[in-house]
């Protein structure tokens, strides 16, 4: 049972407050949808969880430990943050191999995840020739490399074709079914309604909702409608420093 525990997490970039005392627990065995308008703090939360950004205050733990304390972290947490992370001049296989070697993951896992994400046929092609959808698949392959109990996916559906989105949904469902902790951010409400069991919604760096999908939708016609009702006024473009929401 690997929990993600976020306690009082605050992150300021100069005058901008990206996260404002966020406290939430993400549980294993289900897909947790991570929602919120642009600038709500979803990506910042994921970056802090992965030890990439330092919080101004608060803690973010995976399985009770800070991410940076894992000697071979890819075996504990798999993450897809940015589809453009792979060096364009490297082949897909070499890209995954560099990650595998750094965490003592056997090279056969590279071929397994390439197969699993449907890009085995392009394994020896350079990443610069990949479409956005293929880069997303490569990012997914990297996240699965260490067979981790926790998977963080930031906008993994970007650029995927309908078939890719269906495969992503099945993958997320399967990972959760295997007892893993899956945190998935997306702006596609219809897709989220079909994929997530539980929702965590942020607005302006604060927790707006932490509820099972059914409960969150409640009496609304759809997830989309419930989401808009909750986040009205939290969108980035309406945000002005110093004005109360």
């Amino acid at each position: 049972m690997t929990l993600i525990e976020i306690r009082g997490l605050t992150k300021r970039y100069g005058p901008v407050c990206a996260l404002d005392g966020l406290t939430v627990t993400v549980r294993p065995g289900r897909v947790t949808g991570f929602l919120g308008p642009n600038g709500a703090g979803k990506s910042t939360t994921m970056r802090i969880l992965l030890g990439l950004d330092r919080p101004t205050s608060g803690t973010a733990l995976v399985g009770g430990r800070p991410y940076a304390s894992f000697a071979e972290p890819l075996r504990h947490v798999g993450a897809l943050l940015d589809a453009s992370a792979a060096h364009p001049a490297r082949t897909a296989r070499d890209h995954l191999l560099t990650l595998a070697l750094s965490n003592r993951i056997p090279a056969r896992r590279v071929d397994e995840v390439l197969e699993e994400t449907g890009i085995a046929g392009a394994a020896r092609r350079r990443v610069r020739t990949f479409s956005l959808g293929m880069r997303q698949r490569l990012g997914l392959a990297a996240a699965l490399l260490g067979d981790p109990p926790v998977v963080l996916l930031d906008e993994p559906a970007n650029g995927l074709d309908p078939e890719g989105i269906l495969q992503l949904r099945r993958l997320a469902r399967r990972l959760a079914g295997e007892g893993r902790t899956v945190l998935l951010s997306s702006h596609l409400m219809g897709e989220m309604a079909r994929t997530a069991d539980h929702l965590v919604v942020l607005g302006r760096g604060r927790l707006l909702a932490d509820a099972p999908l059914d409960e969150f939708v409640g009496g609304s016609a759809s997830l989309e409608e419930a989401y808009f009702a909750l986040t009205a006024g939290s969108a980035e473009f309406t945000h002005q420093e110093g004005t109360p929401s």
Binding site: R47, D82, A85, A86, L97, T98, L101, G177
Partner: protein, 269 residues
């Protein structure tokens, strides 16, 4: 609900801190080595350092080598490294690209997710970059010296001549330290263009142009490339000797590496 299968991840308890560091560093070094050899432009830059340096030296000696040999200030050892003026920019590019390539497109975030201990990550990268540059640098040094002397014919000297062997080895050390220095600067500036626009004027303009100016020349002698090239002279002139010059250059490289580490350590990725 099934539990995901995870392989044990704790590394075996090691006896000494040095052994623990080696155990932690080994997978990082293997990973960094694949990163280096899997990007063609990096291999091309490294190869270019050798080809340009030796090529220009050989070309110059083939054309004017023996004619120059008649001059009063003719000195066969230092003259062997004429091509270094052109070839060392390739070493600068190699060091810069090896590090700055990580910062394009957010690759650094993925790299630091795999190796969150930033000192370990950066140390492993510099080790691999330096270890790749050293043999190429030594081949360049010996290639230049032997090629030039062969073309000088009866005016040429052997590796046994005063300062000759030292100069060839020194050329290898020079190119290695220049690479590490460039890699460190690239980690501070986090961009290929930024790093090259700082390094190119320093290495190409400031030192050659100001080296002869009285007063400033003494200061310029302590710049990394001037200091490091002292070892190419059998009898170095100026405030720095052969090995003290190399020491000053090593300090520059260490300073740049430390600044790169500090920048990586302090800033959000």
């Amino acid at each position: 609900m099934t539990t995901p299968t995870t392989t044990p991840t704790t590394t075996p308890a090691t006896a000494t801190p040095a052994a623990a560091l080696t155990a932690a560093l080994a997978p990082v070094v293997r990973s960094e080595w694949v990163k280096l050899r899997s990007v063609r432009s990096l291999l091309v830059a490294l190869f270019a350092a050798f080809v340009c340096t030796v090529g220009v030296t050989v070309l110059a000696h083939a054309m004017v080598g023996k004619a120059e040999a008649g001059n009063a200030d003719f000195e066969p050892v230092y003259g062997s490294y004429f091509g270094l003026n052109f070839g060392h920019i390739a070493a600068v590019c190699f060091g810069v690209m090896a590090v700055a390539g990580e910062y394009a497109g957010g690759g650094i975030r993925l790299s630091l997710t795999a190796v969150p201990r930033r000192g370990l990550f950066f140390g492993g990268k510099l080790l691999v970059v330096g270890a790749a540059a050293l043999p190429v640098g030594l081949a360049t040094g010996f290639g230049c010296f032997l090629g030039a002397q062969a073309l000088l014919g009866e005016y040429g000297v052997g590796l046994g001549a005063p300062g000759a062997l030292r100069s060839a080895i020194g050329c290898g050390l020079y190119l290695t330290l220049l690479t590490v220095f460039s890699a460190g600067v690239a980690a501070v500036l986090r961009s290929q263009v930024g790093a090259l626009s700082v390094l190119t004027p320093v290495v190409f303009l400031i030192s050659p142009v100001f080296a002869g100016v009285p007063g400033i020349g003494t200061v310029v002698a302590f710049l990394p490339d001037r200091a490091g090239q002292q070892i190419l002279h059998p009898v170095p002139e100026g405030p720095l000797g052969a090995w003290s010059g190399m020491g000053v250059m090593a300090l520059w490289a260490a300073l740049a590496a430390a600044a790169g580490w500090w920048s990586l350590h302090r800033r959000d990725a």
